[in-house]
């Protein structure tokens, strides 16, 4: 590679932070000088590179340790199982990596560096796009790529031909002197590069808008039940800091039916029992008074309501249970969602009967869609579909909601409850199949397993920033492709009189930004086209 083109062959228009002359002329830096020095360091290419690699390393812990924002239960388990390391990792934000100050520091510095680099470059590029190609060198044959030929035409004709050829190849032209033409093309390369970097900033803007103005909520809706989009109906609701949770769009949604199918034919490893299809059939009302509409929600096919997407992210079983007192009056009746614990939907849950007399009753245990009693594991499910459903419950009595504290619907808080035992002082075990009734000892009444319903686990999400992010990301991709594919090339054509009078020597030289294996070909192409044109015109 020719040394003298080295500066030209690098895309590096960032300063290097090592501007030697500046440090010599300014040996003592004032406060402004130091700030400028820091700014130069931050916006230098080396720093950007370092921050990029740091960003990559910084993102990794979030994939290794469980993250609170994704799975808080697993995070709590991990910390509990690692009492020494856990709290320390927690202190340094390893369980909330993407919200941690150090991760934010990396990407904020990176984006400041990016802005500090891209804005000056945009200015330079703006000027470059409006300027003319530089003066042709006196000896274009010394450029990295060049080609020479001799023709019988005079200099004027040759240059005119060269101009037409170069214009046809979409070069921008300028003649600085009578004996040459300078041409340049490929300005879109730098434009693409700048668009890519600026679009990345808007990707972040879109993410920030989504974070500030977006919200998401999860809710479990058993088949037959209706969900109204308001704060109190959600099981969990996480609004962005600038969201008014009282102004959610007032749509309603009833789950009519939930279809679930599982792999039954292929028995190979990892396939048998895998889910194959989940479809929720729902009736929606966009706002009070509007006409109801039938739709379906599937995994990968969310339902788009006004300002929010409704996603089917989970499902499970809600056995319909009726509890009666000793006189046969129902004290509880309805579907009770049980939460799946494994791929075969061995599910845990609780039936809370606050209206039971004299003491409140609470049932806790398992729902098994295809029940077997395993010698080692006890009651368990061996297939996810409801082939042979059963409930395995134990009974507690006492105070269901001690102190009115919030508690999980799937778990009994047994702090102020006692387990009901059999005459042999064994915990009472209730095994129920659909349609069966179990009589509770001690005149506590009965419990009936009426049948099996399913529930839909819906996630409802509003993200006003997503289109900003999408458009910015696509722009970034377009800019990236332009910046990588397009070549910035300069071609110079110079004519000089040949030794034989009346003849002209044409020299075409080429200069490219970066490595350019195709440059020589372009130069030879231009020369050949010029010769062809001269040949055809004479």
């Amino acid at each position: 590679m020719a040394e003298h083109t080295k500066d030209d062959t690098r895309d590096d228009t960032r300063n290097d932070g090592k501007d030697v002359t500046e440090q010599i002329t300014q040996p003592r830096l004032g406060a402004v000088g130091w700030l400028r020095w820091m700014w130069r360091q931050l916006t230098s290419m080396r720093t950007a590179l370092f921050l990029l690699l740091l960003l990559a390393i910084g993102a990794l812990p979030g994939s290794i340790w469980p993250q609170r924002s994704i799975d808080s239960a697993r995070t709590a388990d991990w910390i509990a199982n690692h009492p020494k390391v856990g709290p320390w990792l927690d202190r340094f934000g390893f369980f909330e990596v993407y919200a941690s100050p150090w991760f934010a520091a990396i990407y904020l510095l990176l984006f400041i560096s990016l802005v500090g680099c891209v804005l000056p470059r945009s200015k330079v590029h703006w000027k470059a796009m409006r300027s003319t190609p530089p003066r042709a060198p006196a000896r274009p044959e010394r450029l990295p790529s060049s080609a020479t030929a001799e023709t019988g035409a005079d200099a004027e004709t040759v240059l005119a031909a060269a101009r037409e050829v170069l214009r046809g190849k979409r070069f921008r032209l300028h003649a600085h002197d009578a004996g040459s033409v300078s041409a340049e093309k490929g300005y879109l390369k730098e434009t693409g590069n700048l668009v890519f970097h600026l679009a990345l900033i808007f990707v972040i803007v879109g993410v920030a808008v989504g974070h500030l103005f977006g919200w998401k909520g999860d809710v479990i809706v058993p088949v037959g039940k209706t969900f109204a989009n308001s704060l109190i109906q959600y099981d969990t609701f996480s609004p962005g800091p600038w969201v008014d949770p009282s102004s959610l769009s007032p749509f309603r949604l009833k789950v009519d039916k939930l279809d679930a199918t599982f792999e039954e034919n292929v028995t190979g490893r990892g396939q048998f029992g895998q889910p194959r299809d989940f479809t929720a059939h729902v009736t929606t009302v966009a706002e009070p008074g509007a006409t109801p509409k039938q739709s379906t929600i599937k995994v990968n096919h969310p339902l788009e309501m006004d300002g929010a997407g409704v996603f089917l992210l989970g499902n499970g079983y809600a056995p319909v249970i009726t509890v009666r007192d000793k006189d046969g009056n129902a004290t509880f009746s309805g579907p009770v969602p049980f939460l799946a614990q494994d791929n075969n939907y061995t599910s845990v849950g609780a039936v809370k009967v606050p209206g039971a007399q004299p003491k409140q009753l609470g049932f806790s245990g398992l729902f098994l869609p295809t029940a077997v009693i395993d010698k080692e594991k006890g009651p368990t499910s061996i297939f996810p579909d409801a082939k042979k459903p059963a409930l395995a419950l134990t009974l507690f009595e006492g105070t269901l909601f001690p102190g009115g504290r919030p508690q999980s619907v799937y778990v009994l808080d047994t702090a102020e409850m006692t387990q009901v035992k059999t005459a042999k002082d064994q915990p009472l075990r209730i095994w129920l199949e659909p349609g069966k009734t179990f009589t509770l000892p001690g005149d506590r009444g009965t419990i009936t397993f009426e049948g099996v319903d399913r529930f839909a686990g819906l996630s409802i999400r509003h993200d006003p920033g997503k289109y900003v992010t999408l458009v910015a990301a696509l722009l970034a991709l377009g800019g990236l492709i332009a910046s990588l594919v397009i070549r910035r090339r300069r071609v110079f054509v110079r004519v000089s009189p040949a030794q034989d009078a009346g003849r002209t020597v044409v020299t075409v030289g080429g200069l490219a930004k970066g490595d350019d294996d195709g440059l020589q070909e372009v130069v030879e192409d231009v020369l050949a086209a010029v010769e062809r044109r001269l040949g055809s015109s004479t």
């Binding site: 590679m1 040394e3 080295k6 500066d7 690098r10 590096d12 960032r14 290097d16 290419m45 080396r46 950007a48 590179l49 990029l52 690699l53 960003l55 990559a56 993102a59 990794l60 979030g62 994939s63 469980p66 924002s69 994704i70 697993r74 990596v97 993410v207 998401k216 792999e263 034919n265 292929v266 190979g268 490893r269 990892g270 396939q271 895998q274 889910p275 194959r276 299809d277 989940f278 599937k298 995994v299 990968n300 969310p302 996603f311 992210l313 996630s459 999400r461 993200d463 997503k466 992010t469 999408l470 990301a473 970034a476 991709l477 990236l480 492709i481 990588l484 970066g514 490595d515 294996d517």
Partner: protein, 338 residues
């Protein structure tokens, strides 16, 4: 819904491809062995082999010393490479390379057949688990290499393409094999075709890029030390580096597209376009590392060697993303079927 006969034929085709790739790999190895400088010296000038080589080396050292700059340090190997035109390559090596190239084509075609049969047998796009990903990835890698080698002489790269392909296919068959079946609901989307196919294609191009980068770094180390080796017959180091760069700038936009398409799909399937799922994290990390490679290559003061090491780090992340994250990390991409 699965046609087991077709799935069986798909496996037969896959095993045939592996046998064919074994032949291809051996032939490429024979080709490289035939290039060994010692061999043709032995044929050309039998006596005083050792003395000759030592002299050769000292000449090269002088040249390096006289060059006094990074640009001219490559001169001896250029000269050596120039001395050995195709006619110098022993006939046996040329034959081996020819067989290697043909069998690589055949292996790629057999993989294509296997992929098509697998897709027909399950009546869906055959990219639902790690096994299918590995097979299609190998197919893209071998076909991309074969098609590209019709444009230029890539015989030097053959061994470093067929070797890894065999390794991956072996893993696919022994460790990642999953029986033909339908897809999980979360995978039943046309985004699977878009997102995962481009991901596989990008991985294939990154693989060839990593092979070229590896060859470049080794060749560069040999050229610096001035030791004679079979690498003298490869393209010169800067050309190798440019080749590797060219591959990376094809793969990088593909990977960017993978990332964007994945985010669009994630919004369809999981309600949020970005969830910091382990697979997403690693895909992002790979993107960032390769972005760092492109930046480092455009930064004056950072050597092409350093940049190449960053590219290899990116490829290491790709391997982790596939072989480790899918299997050992808990996340929403856990569909490997293992």
């Amino acid at each position: 819904m699965t046609n087991e006969t077709l799935a069986g034929y798909a496996n037969v085709s896959l095993y045939s491809a592996m046998a064919v790739f074994t032949i291809a790999m051996l032939c490429h190895a024979v080709y490289l062995a035939g290039l060994l400088p010692a061999r043709d010296r032995a044929a050309d000038r039998a006596p005083d082999r050792a003395v000759d080589r030592a002299a050769d080396r000292s000449v090269e050292r002088e040249l390096v010393g006289a060059g006094g700059g990074g640009a001219t340090a490559q001169a001896p190997s250029d000269a050596t490479a120039a001395r050995h035109h195709d006619e110098d390559v022993p006939a046996r090596a040329r034959t081996a390379a020819g067989i290697g190239s043909t069998t690589t084509w055949l292996g790629g075609m057999l993989l294509l057949l296997s992929v098509v049969l697998r897709g027909l047998s399950v009546d869906r796009w055959p990219l639902g688990n790690m096994f299918e990903f590995a097979v299609m990835g190998s197919m893209f890698t071998s076909l991309a290499y074969s098609i590209w080698s019709t444009k230029r002489d890539l015989r030097w790269l053959g061994l470093f393409i067929t070797g890894p392909i065999l390794l991956v296919l072996g893993m696919a068959v022994r460790v990642w094999y999953t029986e033909a079946a339908e897809l999980l609901p979360s995978l039943q989307s046309y985004w699977l075709v878009i997102h995962v196919t481009v991901a596989v294609l990008a991985t294939a191009v990154f693989t060839i890029g990593a092979a070229a980068t590896g060859v470049y770094l080794v060749k560069d180390a040999f050229a610096r030390s001035g030791r004679a080796s079979v690498l003298d017959r490869f393209p010169d180091a800067p050309a190798l580096e440019r080749t590797a760069y060219g591959l990376h700038i094809v793969a990088f936009p593909l990977w960017t597209f993978t990332l964007i398409a994945g985010a669009i799909w994630a919004r369809q399937a999981w309600a949020s376009y970005w969830n910091w799922d382990p697979k997403e994290v690693w895909t992002f990390v790979i993107w960032v590392v390769y972005a760092a490679y492109l930046h480092s290559r455009a930064t004056s003061g950072i050597s092409r060697q350093t940049a190449s090491y960053i590219a290899l780090a990116g490829y290491a992340c790709i391997i982790v993303n596939f072989a480790v994250v899918n299997v050992f990390f808990v996340g929403q991409h856990s569909y490997s079927g293992l």
